[in-house]
């Protein structure tokens, strides 16, 4: 790991030249995999994630079935080459937790009653990581669900805010995350339904408010890009 830079904000700009409230460049591609029922590739700065949706499909083993609605499963996984130090393949505690909170973030919009006894499986593979993989994954998963034609109440849009050199910034990248003072990923369904909220670090209650409002603005921008990607593919939003 590189040494901590002296300052993370220089002359009002962040190390990568961004303003405080600026997202990294985003690229969203819909329907990029053949085998999956729905898929989405997303780049968020240096993050590269692939999401696939399979379902509705049968549930094995049977005792996991629910009589009146679909079960939702979510697996977040990092490729071993996606980070600087090679990661051992397979789930670790971090990825298990991220899978859970991501499912909690996505599940609220899925109209599960459409598919009793079935499963909808969401798989997110992180191909390259640079802080923000869980939010990128949720964004991609949300688009992949739409691509798969799963009925939803809305798209889930997700981004993080951080605190660096005492200032609140949108969408922190790796170095800002490593050396920053706080990190808070959220996910939102328009106009104001929060489905993910995690925080670690240190916010005064005022800072929290400022950060939270900024994060919601970020989600709104991402929502527009998700919508645009779906329109490009399907002509209309969400199929």
């Amino acid at each position: 790991m590189k040494d901590k830079p002296e300052k993370l904000i220089v002359k009002g700009k962040r190390l990568d030249g961004r303003k405080m409230d600026e997202l990294r460049p985003i690229k969203i591609e819909v329907g990029v995999l053949k085998r999956a029922d729905g898929s989405c590739y997303m780049e968020l700065g240096e993050n590269k994630v692939m999401a696939a949706v399979y379902g509705p499909r049968e549930v094995h083993p049977r005792h996991l079935q629910e009589a009146t609605k679909a079960i939702i499963r979510y697996r977040y996984n990092m490729a071993s080459f996606s980070v600087e130090e090679r990661k051992r393949p397979g789930p670790d505690r971090r990825s298990v937790e991220i899978s859970k909170v991501s499912r909690d973030a996505i599940e609220p919009v899925i109209i599960k009653e459409c598919f009793p006894k079935a499963a909808v499986d969401i798989f997110v593979e992180v191909l390259q990581a640079d802080a923000g993989t869980r939010t990128a994954g949720i964004n991609a998963a949300s688009v992949a669900l739409a691509d798969a034609g799963i009925p939803m109440k809305g798209l889930v849009s997700s981004c993080a805010v951080g605190k660096i050199d005492g200032q609140i910034v949108l969408d922190p990248m790796k170095e800002e995350d490593n050396y920053g003072e706080a990190d808070m990923p959220i996910a939102m369904v328009m106009p104001d339904k929060i489905t993910l909220l995690q925080m670690d670090g240190c916010f005064t209650q005022d800072e929290f408010k400022q950060a939270f409002e900024l994060a919601k603005k970020g989600c709104e921008q991402i929502y527009e890009m998700q919508r645009q990607a779906l329109i490009e593919k399907y002509g209309v939003e969400g199929k």
Partner: protein, 258 residues
């Protein structure tokens, strides 16, 4: 089938109560069940505490031993937090490696301790780059009647307050108090029928669509948050939850930790 009908009726009843400002066990929305903390219950451990919140019962043990620091923090001690949801504590817990609930519990407790600066990690360095204190925080749930996170977090900080650095055992002088620098308190808020309530019982947890845990430092700042459950919260609910929780955290800290 009957079972699920009963459950449905019970759920409707609890939602109706919530709308009237009431809870099924008669508590106020901002009221905890009785809390008790017994530190030092396990003498084999360097620190320990049993926490009861109503019928929920959690035992936290702290073991401390010398070990190697992580390469990127050569002069800091190491915290390792683990939670075991043993099948003794609930008919729904199964033996085996920790599943997602246990992992989430451990990680939220861990972040509460770590991000709050509760432990001064620099003071846990014995020899830079070579030897530091490893602090193992093990959460052992004994009886699960809801709100495990608050109980476990309270147990963790109480066990750390109770803990000694075992210098004698490793021939490094006298045993000393563990350097505890802050007193984080985790408060979980549950949403039921649009209303927010503290310290959800198991029955309430089973019907709540969303919970939000907020961890507060002594100075009132926030050092951790975790939303869980497949529901949604409005911004207003989140601000309200922070307000409710902030007050309660102060109360609990004062009563049990200071």
């Amino acid at each position: 089938m009957n079972e699920s009908i009963v459950a449905e009726i019970r759920k409707d009843y609890m939602y109706d109560l919530a709308k009237k400002g009431e809870r099924v066990d008669g508590r106020a929305f901002d009221q905890y069940r009785d809390i008790s903390i017994e530190p030092g219950i396990v003498s084999r451990a360097e620190g320990s505490a049993r926490v009861q919140i109503g019928n929920t019962q959690v035992l936290v043990g702290v073991k401390i031993q010398p070990g190697e620091p992580f390469p990127d923090t050569p002069n800091e001690g190491v915290i390792i937090t683990n939670a075991e949801l043993v099948p003794l504590a609930s008919p729904t817990f199964e033996a085996g490696p920790p599943k997602e609930d246990a992992i989430e519990l451990a990680r939220v407790v861990d972040r509460g301790i770590r991000e709050s600066g509760a432990l001064d990690l620099a003071k846990l360095c014995i020899e830079e780059g070579a030897k530091v204190w490893m602090v193992f925080i093990d959460v052992h749930v004994l009886d699960h009647d809801g709100n495990l996170i608050d109980a476990a977090a309270l147990g963790a900080i109480a066990a750390l307050l109770n803990a000694k650095l075992p210098n004698e055992r490793y021939e490094m002088g006298k045993d000393a108090q563990l350097p505890v620098a802050d007193l984080p308190v985790a408060i979980t808020v549950a949403e039921i029928g649009g209303k927010l309530l503290l310290d959800p019982s198991l029955e309430e947890e089973q019907i709540t669509p969303a919970k939000l845990t907020i961890i507060f430092n002594k100075d009132g700042s926030i050092s951790g948050m975790q939303k869980s459950g497949t529901g949604m919260l409005t911004s207003e609910q989140i601000y309200q939850a922070i307000e409710m929780a902030s007050k309660k955290a102060k109360e609990i800290r004062k009563k049990f930790l200071e």
